[in-house]
């Protein structure tokens, strides 16, 4: 595939799955600048790895893996301040009036996700997005039994309303 065609395909696939980018950035970063930096960092990594994407696999699974791996590294980086990588002016991801449309349960859920460590955050995100245990296990790289145990524990913690997860 030629480079412009490859880029066109990349843009279409990313556009189709832009919600993954949005949800990962929102779950791992609190402030807008960090979210934008993370979105751009993920986008660059997606583009760099796109050549090795196996088309027999699901794009969403592959995109989740890259987005979550970049997000966890970003979250753990020692120096908190990062620079804009693609542009310092335009935003890569624009959310129009999104918070106004959020139901109250979403606020609670966002707070719950915000308190999780980066690895459990990834599990919950994938679970909420409707992936089954087998798919979650494939993205995270742990056994299905382990995924089931962890999700069950997280459910219990949410029910109990534990502050520290």
């Amino acid at each position: 595939m030629t480079s412009p065609a490859l880029q066109e395909k990349f843009q279409s696939l990313v556009d189709e799955h832009k919600k993954i980018l949005y949800k990962v950035c929102n779950s791992y970063c609190r402030n807008r600048d960090d979210r934008e930096d993370l979105a751009q960092e993920i986008m660059i990594q997606l583009w760099r790895s796109f050549g090795s994407f196996d088309e027999r696999a699901r794009f969403s699974t592959w995109m989740y893996r890259i987005a979550l791996n970049v997000a966890i590294s970003f979250y753990r980086r020692e120096s908190t301040r990062t620079r804009f990588v693609l542009s310092s002016e335009a935003l890569l991801l624009n959310a129009v009036d999104e918070t106004a449309k959020r139901p109250a349960e979403m606020q609670v859920l966002n707070e719950f996700i915000g308190r999780l460590d980066p690895l459990n955050k990834a599990l919950v995100l994938l679970y909420l997005d409707g992936h089954n245990y087998q798919e979650i296990a494939a993205v995270v790289g742990i056994t299905e039994t382990n995924v089931a145990t962890k999700i069950s524990r997280l459910k219990q913690k949410l029910e109990k309303g534990e502050q520290h997860v």
Partner: protein, 219 residues
């Protein structure tokens, strides 16, 4: 009390609305922009590549120095010490570059994060050793530089020993100062990171994450 499965319904409803709310800036995704931008790992590779190239030049220069001074023990020994240090640094830089290149972000999260964790530990250990050993190795380097630039013919052996001892005594001092004052260096993140590396705080954090990751994988 909240139920994660009930939340899942709310999440799905919200997810449907997201399509209307979020827009991806396609202009930023032009080929020029994407190809021109560098990811964190690419920046790290470039930096490591430059360091490796620098150490390679030093190894070659020191090799040349050794060739001309091999029969003069008072210069051959400091030259060999400096050369060993430079070869060690060059080797570690190459290893770091290889480790960075092996990371495929499309792999499973647990495996990739472990690779990144090991890389972080290796990078911090390298910096710690380079800085702490540097307090001792600077004296042999100084002898080599003075010999090359100013044709130094002899030096006081006691001076060399005194500097080596002084360098060694600086190591615990550097660790103590880093532990004591790194918390106060908020205004200079680079210096703070350096001090946290010397004090071992960043290493503890990196090793802590690896152990957290192992527990996460176990059960």
């Amino acid at each position: 009390m909240f139920d994660l499965d009930e939340m899942k319904q709310a999440w799905a409803q919200h997810d449907r609305k997201l399509d209307e709310c979020i827009r991806l800036n396609r202009q930023l995704l032009s080929r020029e922009n994407l190809n021109g931008a560098r990811s964190q790992m690419q920046r790290l590779t470039v930096l490591l590549g430059m360091e490796a190239a620098g150490w390679f030049v030093i190894v070659v220069l020191l090799g040349n120095f050794m060739y001309y001074n091999i029969s003069i023990l008072r210069f051959a020994l400091p030259g060999a010490a400096a050369d060993l240090y430079a070869i060690g640094m060059f080797g570690v830089m190459i290893r770091l570059i290889v480790e960075v290149q092996r990371i495929d972000y499309g792999g499973p999260i647990a495996a990739i994060q472990k690779q990144l964790g090991v890389l972080r530990v290796l990078r911090i250990r390298t910096l710690q050793w380079a800085l702490l050993a540097g307090t001792v190795v600077w004296a042999p380097f100084a002898i080599v530089v003075f010999r090359v630039l100013f044709g130094l013919e002899s030096y006081n052996f006691a001076w060399l020993i005194a500097n080596l001892v002084f360098g060694l005594s600086l190591i615990p001092l550097a660790i103590w100062v880093s532990k004591r004052f790194s918390g106060r260096m908020d205004r200079s993140p680079f210096i703070q990171r350096l001090m946290n590396d010397i004090a071992g705080y960043n290493l503890t954090a990196a090793e802590g994450f690896l152990s957290e990751l192992s527990k996460f994988e176990e059960n």
